[in-house]
Symmetry: C2
Subunit: 286 residues, 2 copies
């Protein structure tokens, strides 16, 4: 199997083909989900909002008491050098940090963390409104209460996503005590009138970077930002619903379970926000 | 580094030194905690309650929609053959099954699961009452709601255990809405009079195998088994508290946060249960 430069990986300082990269079976990422990760978009060969992703990585690391094995500035340099070797224009960086490999025990071991990142091509994202709207399926939010940590303990998210797929939907929306929190791998927003509503980050909501970018862009577009819990009933009468993530940018929702969302097409405020996001991306990755 | 026979591993049908065993970085066990595990005690070279562990593995697999890549009877044979090659008398088998390796995506991939098991020597367990009592620290139960699945998404357990260790305790007891559920890597029992009390298995409690063995032994010892939720207040006035797991068997609790448990020594009912457990172990692994 040939390995292109776009399929190489940086693993603890060494660069090798992704297919040849291996970790030990006693890596705590494998046995305990004792690790964190980031997914960063590349546009025009440049990582978008890299600073914000690395700051979030730092916070996740602190919140699981995992000292970063490298200064953020040095990590940023390693990523830049790697991207020079692997000149990918449009895609993503997947980065993961675990507590490393040690004989299995819940107690934190003395060992060297495992740090790796690699790049992947992403298929071009259809622009709204051309893109088909996503179908959302609500599922009970049965996840743990520290969802602000971007950890690899993603089994609950995997199960929710696959429950949605099995039901013919595209993404699962978590409902926690009748409140809409987030999706299995994206944040969710409701638009009612000129109000942009999304659940605050915290125990049940990851501080999504695309989410944060939109919250900063929205007031400049004349929108009122309501960062507050909202009920499923409120979501059902929203004019527009959309979900966001680094890899999907903004996807408008066409269905909420068996109901049409709003007018059943990509709404004007979703479009306006997407256009503002694209402009920011173009400015920062020119 | 020399590798003894006790440090070898069965990995997808191949046997190799544990230190040389590697998995790909895109194994879903590493990126998504998309896997399950078992820890089985070996006494006298024989796995104790292996059937029960394999049935639980089968149930965990079903509950995360992961088809077992091998019939249980064949797996049992592979374990038996492996134990002949790696003649360990007292220790444990660690077994893990993940959905396998595939390009990262929450959607279930079409790929071959990763199955492995290896053995480890365990230090001899001091017999109660000689053993020192464990100190328990209560922590809020912030885990997900499918704790009956023995998944590798153990980060919440790891954080709880290390919170206990940092506070000078030995194990963390999860408290869910004032109810005592289980510990970070063990089940917990309270003894009040002739009553043995433990929270039912389910969303917050793993069906521990040692737990189940004790629930079956208890009535034969004249104890009343109360499998029901119990409050922290009830635990605080218990005559005896103990915790159980495959590797620790039964550990009596000396402290509950800053309070002494019962008389501050290993209680008579804990001793009686431990003695019955040891007799069963001796019978079944002679």
């Amino acid at each position: 199997m040939t390995t292109t430069m776009t399929e190489s990986i940086w693993l603890n300082g060494d660069i090798m083909p992704l297919a040849e990269a291996r970790i030990g079976v006693e890596d705590r990422g494998f046995q305990f989900a004792d690790g964190i990760y980031e997914v960063i978009r590349l546009y025009n060969g440049k990582p978008f909002t890299l600073d914000a992703h690395l700051r979030r990585l730092q916070k996740s690391a602190r919140d699981i008491q995992l000292p970063l094995p490298i200064e953020l500035a040095d990590l940023q340099n390693e990523i830049a050098k790697f991207l020079t070797r692997a000149p990918l224009r449009d895609g993503m960086i997947y980065l993961q940090l675990t507590r490393g490999s040690a004989p299995r025990s819940h107690a934190f071991p003395q060992c060297k963390p495992t740090l790796l990142f690699y790049v992947r091509v992403l298929p071009p994202i259809p622009e709204p409104p051309a893109a088909e709207g996503v179908k959302l399926l609500t599922v009970p939010d049965e996840r743990w209460k520290r969802c602000w940590i971007k950890s690899v303990a993603l089994l609950p998210n995997v199960l929710a996503k696959n429950q949605a797929l099995a039901a013919g939907a595209d993404e699962a929306v978590f409902i926690d005590n009748d409140l809409v929190t987030e999706c299995s791998s994206s944040n969710v927003f409701a638009v009612i009138g000129q109000h942009l509503i999304t659940h605050p980050v915290g125990s049940k909501v990851l501080p999504g970077i695309t989410r944060q970018v939109l919250l900063e862009l929205a007031p400049k577009l004349g929108l009122n930002v309501d960062e507050r819990p909202f009920s499923e009933e409120e979501a059902r009468r929203a004019d527009e619903i959309f979900i966001t993530s680094a890899t999907r940018e903004i996807s408008w929702a066409a269905r909420w379970n068996d109901r049409r969302v709003g007018q059943g097409r990509c709404g004007p405020i979703t479009l306006k926000l997407h256009s503002a996001l694209r402009q920011k991306i173009a400015r920062e990755t020119a």
